[in-house]
């Protein structure tokens, strides 16, 4: 009999009941909540007169709607100028209080983007099942956890029963061997993978990222990669546990200690796919072949190496693809054949659950150091993913590098990733963004998003257009 994949192991260990009709009850270890997708779930509980099944499984934080300017944050919830956002943030506080759920409130030291704080606080651990009413929950799979997004009805379901009604997905292995070139990051790897798979290529699969490149990759990088599995249609992205995982988890606030730590480690060391595990699909890449990426269109699969040119829809065989590409070029105001490096940038956003961890800020700061934001760039937002990341970055004086370069150093939150607060693009503006979605209007009505890595975003900020960050690095060593 073939061995088991990591996904198989996690599924089996959490299976409460397999029903005859193919559905299953899966036990959930960690449930993360935020202000946008939880209010209706709490309301549902109240209407039905139900109580949360297991309070200590839940952790909440406010991230999507919170303002990111220091002045607006200083005044607390009452000072949030957007009334509807204020009510939503307040509602989360009220619900957590009423039900006794642990919450990192807007200005608490543990606050941040839900997918940044989970791993950072040790609230998400290897071997867990993790769900959240947010599609980027796949991020936590980087720890060797089974993590995915759910809808609000499911949030209510998990609150009430600690279980999810689920169906087993298929297994896909995305293998990247070799080594990455200098200036090529986790973000470039995952964008290249999505370009190949397409936005629906992973639908119905749990993707495991394997191979040398991921084995060498930091936890921050693995989180960036797993975060974007959903952009290839897969609800789940994961990486097997190894020494890098254990080193990362050790000493975190909610991680086990002492004898419990030893027991946990013994268990976690089994959390990888068996050598003879069989996958339903395997896709292979070579690390050396991956270059810094820039998205040109309105879907994360519309992405190319930075030295490429905007593709010509006329050359596309598939009529649906052709139609999608030409619509995207209209929206983005780009022409077939135009060099990506000729696209001028109006704003730059470095942040989001994809790229707002300390390593991301270090990479951006390395490029920004000693340089100035280009004259044509109106604004560069640097938004740390959590209060802890912010404190760490300030301890390393990265904030000063950004400020000296003419960039804005903000308070933690989702910010311009989805523009629910005041941080947004104006119509027609091009943005170099380290976030995960370049959908029409995602960062502001009429805004034009180009997805890139933090180093590539910083390079665009200081030159005013997209540029291969390796060129800036070369000029440093020359």
């Amino acid at each position: 009999m073939a061995g088991l994949t990591l996904y198989d192991k996690l599924w089996d260990s959490h299976l409460v009941k397999q029903r005859d009709d193919g559905s299953a009850l899966l036990y959930i270890d960690r449930h993360l909540l935020h202000e946008v997708t939880s209010p209706q779930a709490f309301e549902g509980l109240r209407i039905a007169g139900r109580k949360p099944w297991r309070i200590d499984a839940n952790l909440a934080t406010a991230d999507h709607n919170v303002p990111t300017t220091t002045s607006e944050r200083a005044g607390g919830i009452a000072a949030i100028t957007d009334k509807v956002a204020r009510i939503q943030v307040q509602t989360l506080d009220d619900n957590c209080e009423a039900f006794g759920i642990t919450e990192y409130k807007m200005n608490d030291a543990g606050q941040g983007i839900v997918h940044v704080i989970g791993p950072e606080q040790g609230a998400t651990l290897p071997g867990m099942t993790v769900v959240c009413g947010d599609s980027h929950t796949a991020t936590h799979g980087a720890l060797g956890a089974l993590a995915h997004g759910i809808g609000t009805s499911e949030v209510e379901h998990v609150l009430a029963s600690q279980c999810l009604v689920a169906q087993k997905m298929k297994n896909m292995l995305v293998r990247v061997d070799g080594v990455l070139g200098v200036g090529v990051t986790a973000k470039d790897v995952v964008l290249a993978v999505i370009a190949h798979l397409g936005t629906a290529g992973g639908t119905g699969y749990a993707i495991e990222f394997g191979g040398e490149v991921f084995r060498r990759m930091s936890m921050e990088g693995r989180m960036t990669v797993c975060n974007m599995a959903i952009e290839a249609g897969a609800r789940v992205g994961m990486v097997g546990v190894d020494e890098i995982t254990l080193d990362y988890v050790k000493g975190r606030k909610f991680a086990p200690t002492g004898e419990l730590w030893e027991r946990a480690v013994a268990n976690w060391q089994t959390l990888h796919s068996d050598d003879d595990a069989e996958f339903d699909a395997v896709i292979e890449f070579q690390g050396e072949a991956i270059e810094p990426q820039v998205s040109w269109g309105t879907s994360p699969e519309m992405v190319l190496p930075v030295n490429g040119v905007v593709p010509d829809p006329e050359q596309m065989d598939d009529p649906v693809k052709r139609e999608g590409a030409s619509r995207a070029l209209d929206y983005m105001d780009l022409k077939a054949g135009q060099k990506l490096t000729d696209i001028q940038v109006d704003r730059v956003f470095i942040g989001s659950c994809t790229n707002s961890r300390i390593e991301d800020l270090r990479a951006a700061a390395a490029v920004a150091k000693g340089r100035r934001v280009a004259a044509n760039v109106k604004q560069v937002l640097i938004v740390p993913g959590s209060q802890a990341v912010k404190v760490q970055a300030e301890a390393e004086q990265l904030d000063q590098i950004f400020i000296d370069a003419g960039m804005e150093w903000r308070e933690p939150g989702c910010s311009m990733c989805l523009a629910m607060n005041a941080d947004k693009l104006g119509a027609g503006e091009h943005c170099a963004s380290t976030s995960n979605r370049n959908f029409e209007g995602r960062q502001g009505n009429g805004g034009r998003t180009h997805l890139v890595s933090p180093a590539m975003a910083a390079a665009a900020a200081v030159t005013g257009h997209f540029i291969d960050v390796r060129e800036l690095m070369a000029s440093e060593t020359a």
Partner: protein, 214 residues
């Protein structure tokens, strides 16, 4: 959840692939703490020419006349015909809430994104997957015939065309039963409460570090 057995209604087209949930209901409307009232802002950026805000009088806004839902021939549509990877992107359940609030009961597409697909069932909205070829032919028929209606029968798993031919579709047995009965899914799960407790006790023994940390 709302039950769904049979539905007959007017079809409207959404003729593009990869319609994401940001497009179905833009983020500014997610600030609501309610489950209803999203219908007027369904496809907001495509439907109106200006930028929409929550709590606005939508009847005063300039309409994009090219958008099918604004055309008289599709007024009152309750079946949406779409293309591949419908509902991709964000997990927001506000997307099916908006479709439902607008009056849609069925979405037909050649494929759906997983989370959106799940979310539909929780709200009595039936997502139907048909092959690309059939979808193509439905778009052509829809274009050619004003007042194009379909009859969807969940029990029979069939979509019945005006020419009285019928197309069958696949659906997961569990979801089908839930929709037909309009079951309270949480109530159903809680019937297995004893089994969940037993699992939990064993799990706590095996992996005590997963408990009581927060």
């Amino acid at each position: 959840m709302k039950s769904f057995k049979q539905h007959s209604g007017l079809v409207a087209p959404m003729d593009r692939a990869n319609v994401d949930t940001d497009m179905i209901i833009p983020k500014q409307f997610l600030k609501s703490i309610k489950r209803s009232g999203f219908g007027p802002n369904l496809f907001d950026e495509l439907r109106y020419l200006d930028e929409g805000f929550p709590d606005q009088d939508n009847s005063q806004r300039p309409l994009n006349r090219d958008f099918p839902l604004n055309q008289p021939r599709f007024k009152g549509a309750s079946i949406l015909l779409a293309r591949e990877n419908f509902g991709c992107g964000s997990s927001r359940e506000h997307a099916p809430w908006a479709l439902d609030d607008y009056g849609f009961r069925v979405v037909i597409a050649s494929s759906f994104a997983d989370i959106f697909y799940n979310n539909c069932f929780k709200n009595g909205l039936l997502p139907i997957v048909l092959s690309k070829d059939i979808i193509d032919s439905l778009f052509i028929a829809l274009e050619a015939n004003e007042g194009y209606e379909l009859l969807v029968d969940l029990q029979q798993q069939s979509v019945n065309l005006p020419d009285s031919s019928s197309i069958s579709f696949e659906i997961d047995a569990f979801y089908k039963q839930c929709l037909l009965d309009g079951v309270d899914e949480i109530g159903l799960t809680l019937q297995d409460g004893g089994q969940i407790r037993a699992f939990e006790q064993q799990w706590r023994k095996n992996s005590p570090w997963l408990f009581d940390a927060l």
